[in-house]
Amino acid sequence: MTALLKAEGLVRRYAMRRGLLGRSVEVRAVAGVSLTVERGRTLGLVGESGCGKSTTGRLVLGLEAPDAGTVAFQGQPMSAPGTVAWRSLRARMQMVFQDPLGALDRRLPIGVQVREPFDIHGIGTAADRPARAIEALRAVGLRPDQAARYPHELSGGQRQRAVLARALATEPELLVCDEPISALDVSIQAQVMNLLVDQQERLGLGILFISHDLRAVRQVSHRVAVMYLGTIVEEGEPDAVLHEPAHPYAQALVSAIPHPGRRGGRIVLQGDPPNPADRPGGCAFHPRCPIATALCAQEAPLLKPRAVDGRLVACHVAHGDALPGAGEVRRAA
């Protein structure tokens, strides 16, 4: 059985111009990402801002064409954006956005907007589409009378439910959630996450859950991938990755989760946040890595299973290819 979604070696470059007459600089937002989403499972994708999480989400949905690499949905390669085949594929893969108010048309009642996927993909007859839209709203916990409301008349959580209702209306197989909860209050976040899990059980959804909130990712994911500067540096079971991260970046990320009663033990990274326009050679993380060695500056580590427990890590030190250094490489070089 083929995986629901399989992405291999995705690369996405953007050209960025500096100044009025400056040369255009190539920015590699995504630099070789491979991932797999299974039916009924959730892959969490975490990383700091600007590490290429959202671009990866757009690439696997086929909203943008990758510069290199392939995306296969149920074994079929992705068609080019805007074609008829691509449009009809939208019924089977959907996206949930970070800002629900921006993702909804503020001039149409949400009932009409939830109905749109049926109109677009010709599902059901015109007569029973309003009833289907009501049903879709009910499935995410909105009242039928709220179908007549405009987006600005709803609360943040209700808007995100409406967005979810629209995304799930066609009963897709794949859902990409791009920071679906970061614009919501903490109390609403839990509701929306529970809703996602319920809908996943109901529909057997494969979910790519993109977030920078590690706890949210841990709550909903079956697997977790940690991204740094356009590459996945560690991937494994959420409990294992978030309890005992193997990659030094993942360790720093996990140690940044606030814990009541914990003293010390926080890894504070040195150096500047990474700039995708100016990628360091070797391991992209080595200038900030507290345990970087000379090897790290020369050779980029591959994402491969660790000998001990088979967890996927991209780090020379974690694989035992190098002894932990002191992170002095940056100053020496």
């Binding site: 996206m95 921006g102 048309d105 001039r107 749109e116």
Partner: protein, 293 residues
């Protein structure tokens, strides 16, 4: 109690969303005036007391009723004894046809080209932007003179020509707003639902930017009336014996001191009509926005 079906409860809970439609008095005036103008234009043949070319040589330059004239010619006559009221009525028909026709043509062309530029980007966008710059930098009067001199004058051509007057404004607005809507937000959300470009632009982008376009149209409407007056004054617009508000003003200018009523009646009509269109456009923009209600 718990047996009550969910639907019944929610129907009872549904808040009454009665649309409160309170029309401000000024807008009411504007609507009334515009309705009067439209009625006049449609029923010109019925309401006009005389034919607009009928001469009454015994009553030349007779003043209107309120300036000591007779009820025979309520708004007076011009130097050929033609009834000003009759000419005004036919002028309203002609000017409204030209102004509405040209405004709508301009908005259609401009919005379409703007959307095409926003949708295809790249080469199409460059071509549209070059046309916009060309159109914005060329004095319109020179273009109008050239076209009318080469192709002769007909009403259809004249309306189409005036339609080209302000299209570049709509094109700029439509392109800019469609690009910003497409890069993030509702348009990209609908696109990734699998919607066709027709649906994205017709159903989502157009209603969202309509308020800006409507304001632009209400600005262009008076301009076109005045432009028509100018061209008619130069002899390039509406050709005699046909008449328009602009040509009446241009013509009445010669009798400004002796018979000001020839000029005043059409001038007042232009002012009130353009004012009404602006008022209604402003009000309509607020009404079309559900977030402002």
């Amino acid at each position: 109690m718990s047996d009550i079906p969910m639907q019944d409860v929610t129907v009872v809970q549904a808040p009454p969303r009665a649309p409160r439609l309170r029309v401000p008095p000024m807008v009411l005036f504007g609507l009334g005036w515009l309705a009067l103008m439209l009625l006049t234009a449609v029923l010109a043949d019925v309401v006009s007391p005389y034919a607009y070319t009928a001469l009454d040589l015994r009553n030349r330059l007779s003043p209107p009723v309120f300036m000591g004239g007779t009820w025979l010619h309520p708004l007076g006559t011009d130097e050929l004894g033609r009834d000003v009221l009759a000419r005004l009525i036919y002028s309203i028909r002609m000017s409204l046809l030209i102004a509405f026709g040209a405004t709508i043509i301009g908005a259609l062309i401009g919005t379409t080209l703007g959307f095409l530029a926003a949708h295809f980007r790249g080469f199409v966008e460059q071509v549209v932007l070059a046309l916009v710059d060309f159109s914005a930098s060329l004095p319109f009067l020179i273009l109008a003179l050239a076209v009318l001199a080469f192709f002769g004058n007909s009403l259809t051509l004249f309306i189409c020509l005036l339609g080209l007057h302000a299209w570049e404004r709509y094109a700029r607005i439509a392109r800019g707003l469609a690009v910003s809507a497409g890069s993030q937000g509702y348009a990209s959300a609908v696109r990734q639902l699998g919607a066709t470009p027709w649906r994205i632009y017709g159903r989502h982008v157009l209603p969202n930017i309509a308020s800006t376009l409507i304001v632009s149209m209400t600005l262009a409407f008076p301009e076109i009336i005045l432009l028509e007056s100018g061209l008619s004054f130069l002899g390039l617009g509406v050709q005699p014996p046909a008449t328009s508000l602009g040509s009446m003003v241009g013509y009445g200018r010669e009798y400004l001191t002796r018979a000001p009523w020839i000029l005043l009646a059409p001038a007042l009509t232009i002012v009130l009509t353009t004012f009404s269109v602006s008022l209604i456009g402003d009000w309509l923009r607020d009404q079309l926005d559900p977030t402002l209600r």
